[in-house]
């Protein structure tokens, strides 16, 4: 036990004290933030060119009034189409829009003509379409002699509020599933990255030990299994340290960036949301609701469970990476062909996880979160969705059993592998090693 502790300490300290570790740990949150800001900037980027569009309204449906949209400016010059075309060619306008009269007041589709030598960009196209269509709607209401207020009242927006059937069940809002999906997605990604980054770290380190031959000195003092476990636990502790620093740093840095650059963090994090269609009050209330939902999530249950699955998944895959590292030595090509069988289940689990956050109670999600090779990545993604206890228990028990089995299996491969030199290693060979004695 004492020796295992010494190994863990060395594996941990030798990594944590490295300059490169300190740099990546401190800079990654910054990099992430700048990435989000950058993405937000790109997503909200609109053409900065002004688009001047001349409209010929043949039936005067628009009454020479139409709202400009962003960088698109409309005008109704009194000129013929040919004059306007010529002016467009000279660059006075970007295009000429011809609105023919409606063939019938009840027509549902209406075709407009746009004259220009420039390509009509998607942005401009949709701006024109929505502006003109809402003006035609007003024209129709007026022509049909309808009461605009009555027409407006035809619109009803509906919202679904999920209610529990069993008494005393939690009353959750629809916001909950969005929050749950987001949370599940973040946890799933963390698992996925954790398994790969730290698994690879272990594999490289085992390969290095084998290549520079320190391993024989080591295992004349300690058992191969102790060496392997020491490395896995040590590197795991490194990962935990890194995550912890990030969990503390990311909110801190985002607040800081907010203060310095005045970016609206909320807007940055949801670049996909069409902020234009939502007035600031709505935004405010949505953020409030989201915060409330986040507060109502049972963190005391989710965080320990997440950690359990994280540790389980980490041990499972890390031990496999260690076994591969022990088998290949310094041959990068071999290591790639042998890591492939390990990577495939991780990748499959990742895709199932992406589906599971949308449909957390589908058959696929349920069984994938119980199957031990997938569960460490899929189950955390479902945790925010009130997973039945029997599923969590079954999943954990199976995971534990599999971890024990895989660590044992890897230990057996590792023990033979680290002393084996100059032999091309295949999967079949690895299989044989499991049954070697002593």
């Amino acid at each position: 036990m004492n020796k295992l502790w010494l190994i863990i300490r060395r594996e941990y300290l030798s990594r944590v004290q490295k300059k490169s570790f300190i740099l990546t740990t401190l800079l990654t949150p910054l990099a992430f933030l700048f990435f989000f800001i950058f993405v937000g900037f790109i997503m909200s980027y609109e053409s900065d060119e002004a688009n001047k569009i001349a409209i010929i309204d043949q039936n005067n449906m628009l009454k020479k009034a139409i709202k400009d949209d962003g960088n698109t400016f409309f005008s109704f010059p009194n000129a013929s189409l040919d004059t306007l075309k010529a002016q467009t060619s000279r660059g006075e306008y970007n295009g000429v829009l011809v609105i023919p009269p409606l063939s019938d007041i009840q027509v549902k589709e209406h075709k407009l003509y746009y004259y220009s030598d420039d390509q009509l960009s998607l942005d401009v196209k949709s701006a024109i379409e929505s502006a003109v269509s809402s003006r035609i709607r007003e024209y129709k209401i007026e022509t049909m002699n309808l009461d605009p207020q009555l027409v407006e009242s035809l619109r009803t927006s509906v919202e679904i509020d999920p209610e529990p059937i069993i008494e005393g069940g939690e009353d959750i809002s629809s916001m909950r599933s969005a929050i749950g999906a987001g949370l599940g997605f973040i946890m799933g990604i963390m698992m996925y990255m954790g398994v790969f980054i730290y698994g690879m770290m272990i594999m490289r380190s085992v390969m290095e030990e084998k290549t520079n031959r320190i391993v024989e000195v080591m295992i004349s003092s300690v058992k191969p299994f102790q060496l392997m476990m020491g490395k896995i636990i040590g590197v795991g502790a490194v990962g935990m340290t890194q995550f912890l620093v990030w969990i503390i740093l990311i909110p801190l840095v985002s607040v800081l960036v907010n203060l310095v650059f005045g970016f609206d963090a909320q807007q940055m994090q949801t670049p996909g949301m069409a902020t234009a269609q939502m007035d600031p009050d709505d935004m405010q209330s949505m953020v409030m609701m989201a915060m409330q939902e986040l507060g109502s999530i049972n963190w005391w249950l989710i965080i320990p469970l997440f950690l359990l699955f994280f540790i389980g998944g980490y041990f499972l895959y890390a031990s496999l990476f260690a076994a591969v590292g022990s088998a290949v030595g310094d041959d990068i090509g071999d290591s790639q062909s042998l890591t492939l069988p390990i990577s495939i289940p991780v990748l499959i689990a990742f895709y199932i996880m992406m589906v599971s956050v949308r449909t957390p109670h589908s058959t696929l999600a349920v069984w994938a979160s119980i199957f031990p090779l997938f569960s460490p990545i899929v189950m955390p993604a479902r945790l925010a969705f009130d997973v039945p206890w029997w599923q969590i228990t079954l999943s954990l028990v199976l995971l534990l059993a599999t971890v024990v089995f895989f660590v044992w299996l890897s230990g057996r491969i590792y023990r033979i592998g680290i002393l084996m030199y100059g032999k091309k290693v295949t999967l079949k060979e690895l299989g044989k090693w499991m049954f070697y004695k002593g």
Binding site: L6, N212, I214, E216, V217, L419, G438
Partner: protein, 311 residues
């Protein structure tokens, strides 16, 4: 004298190869012991069994009369043929780490390492990274790591490979010191001439088998062929050499084989009587190399070519 190490009928098989084939030998406490044999003879396999890196299939290994167990590695110092250290670690930290894995406390480890580093005059390496050292320097560090916990059994696999003569002598002297402090030392090498003068006892291994074991002096005595070399000034008159078997003759140096050992003295007397000035007279004992080859041939075996055995 009690035995520090006793092997009885030790067998180790890798799939199809018998790396160690019923090897038995014993090693007295406080001796310097040579384990000799060509590459691939099974020496490293044997060492790995003794250091508990692998386990024997059958057979018994006793250390100080007790069956080999998990406590013994702390009492053994092993320097493998293929040496390695963590390149990014500082020399001092590295030695402390290895010493602590052998059961020393932090304080004990520091004291012992300082002592050794002063002895080798390398105290200023403490904060250097291993990768900054030359190969020969790393070997010194490796040697300290091997002996820092005062093991009662020290096993050195090809200890002089890659060492310059000065450092090789330094290590030889330290090995003598350690022996006088009560350690027992196993030398494993295929360079038999290297250990001829250091080892008191040897075991010769070929193809995983113990082909010869015993005290070096006795082995040589048993295998001697009554060869004697006479060094004279001038030439030996032809008459005296009549009916004598001359093995080798060069300027003033004659090597002769006698059927009876005491005939060498009679020949010497004859030379002196004939007025030949003899300034050198010695018995030529066979080298371990010769003994090895002869023994292997007598037993109808072949010398194993170095092959790539999974070790």
């Amino acid at each position: 004298m009690a035995n520090i190490l006793e092997l009885t009928d030790v067998v180790k098989t890798y799939q199809t190869t018998k790396a160690v084939d019923h090897v038995s030998f014993s090693m007295p406490k406080g001796s310097i012991f040579g384990m000799l044999g060509p590459n691939g003879a099974g020496k490293t396999s044997l060492i790995r069994i003794i250091t508990r890196i692998t386990q024997a299939d059958t057979g018994s290994i006793l250390i100080n009369g007790a069956r080999l167990n998990d406590d013994h590695p702390e009492d053994i110092g092993y320097m493998p043929e293929e040496r390695g250290l963590y390149k990014k670690m500082k020399v001092g930290d590295h030695l402390i780490y290895l010493a602590r894995l052998k059961g020393l406390s932090e304080k004990q480890a520091k004291e012992a390492i300082h002592h050794w580093m002063e002895k080798f005059e390398i105290s200023d390496w403490w904060n250097k990274k291993v990768e900054e050292l030359s190969k020969g320097m790393q070997q010194k560090v490796q040697f300290i790591a091997t002996v820092v916990h005062k093991p009662s059994l020290i096993i050195l696999d090809e200890p002089f490979s890659g060492l310059d003569p000065i450092n090789a002598n330094l290590i030889k002297d330290e090995i003598d010191n350690l022996r006088s402090q009560g350690s027992s030392i196993i030398f494993s090498t295929h360079r038999m001439e290297q250990v001829e003068e250091i080892c008191e006892r040897i075991v010769l291994i070929n193809r995983g088998q113990n082909v010869l074991e015993g005290v070096v002096g006795e082995i040589k005595q048993q295998r001697k062929k009554n060869l004697f070399r006479y060094q004279v000034s001038g030439e030996i008159p032809g008459g005296i050499l009549e009916r004598k078997e001359i093995i080798d003759q060069s300027e003033g140096s004659y090597t002769l084989r006698f059927t009876e050992e005491r005939d060498s003295n009679l020949f010497l007397k004859a030379l002196v009587d004939a007025g030949v000035y003899v300034y050198g007279f010695e018995e030529i004992l066979p080298s371990l190399n010769e003994i090895f080859i002869q023994t292997v041939q007598e037993q109808g075996m072949t010398i194993e070519e170095p092959i790539n055995i999974p070790s």
